[in-house]
Symmetry: C2
Subunit: 156 residues, 2 copies
């Protein structure tokens, strides 16, 4: 099974956070599993806030792209499609909330879990946790919306 982001159309695969075609990017990859999506991420040594601890903006970026990927998966499930197998629809972030519960250690694999809590046609809400070493260090919520017409590529 592919990551949800690997099945975005090429035009929508340039995202710095999760686009497979962005050579500078973070390459967040969200895999569907049951009723949630899971991403695993190893921060680079320079992704720190203070030595030893992950940069909050990186945590926010993981929650953002993984939340949007989870929203795509939830929309596919609602439409009878299979996340990670069928092409993924592209959502955008309407709002992002992150609560930093404790410092996130920089030397651990981060596990990001997203669970859809509301799946509507115009809005999907995803609750996200970020864990390191089995401990949740941040909680987030993403409100996702279908890609607006103003962001469609020229000619679409």
């Amino acid at each position: 099974m592919s990551a949800i982001q690997d099945l975005y159309p090429d035009d929508y695969s340039h995202c710095y956070g999760c686009g497979r075609l962005n050579t500078h990017g973070l390459h967040v990859r969200s895999e569907w599993n049951g009723n949630e999506a899971v991403a695993r991420f190893h921060p680079d040594p320079w992704h720190i806030a203070i030595p030893g601890f992950v940069y909050g903006g990186l945590v926010a970026s993981l929650i953002d792209c993984h939340g949007i990927g989870t929203a795509a998966g939830a929309a596919m499930r609602a439409a009878g499609k299979e996340p990670g197998v069928d092409p993924s629809p592209r959502y955008v972030t309407a709002s992002l909330q992150v609560d930093f519960l404790k410092p996130t250690p920089a030397d651990a694999e981060l596990v990001v879990r997203g669970t859809p809590s509301e799946v509507g046609e115009r809005k999907i809400i995803v609750d996200v946790t970020v864990s390191a070493g089995g401990q949740i260090t941040a909680r987030g919520r993403v409100i996702a919306a279908p890609l607006p017409k103003s962001m469609l590529p020229a000619g679409a």
Copy 2:
């Protein structure tokens, strides 16, 4: 006058978002001006969500580091010190909220403004806007807290 982040102690100047000693980082620089702080940022070509539009995680990162810099400035003002001249205290992000109002164009200088709305000893709240071409494209709120003991460098 220096940026607030340029006057963090060396140990706290490695942040990916705003640390002057992080050679890979974004180098967000917040300058105090009256009752607010202002940062100007030019995204790199790869900081996109979809071609032509800035990555939301970058917008969140700007709001995060600029909000924390603004909190430092507000704390200094409350203590009778001068932001951008005296050494800056280091705050961390307790929570981060971003509302994406419209797509942020990738080819514009971004202007980030932070205004403290509550300045307490244990918590400082900063409201932030991100503008491109004179239009506000995102609004954020950062709740900042003094650096916890668990994040102090060894020996401090």
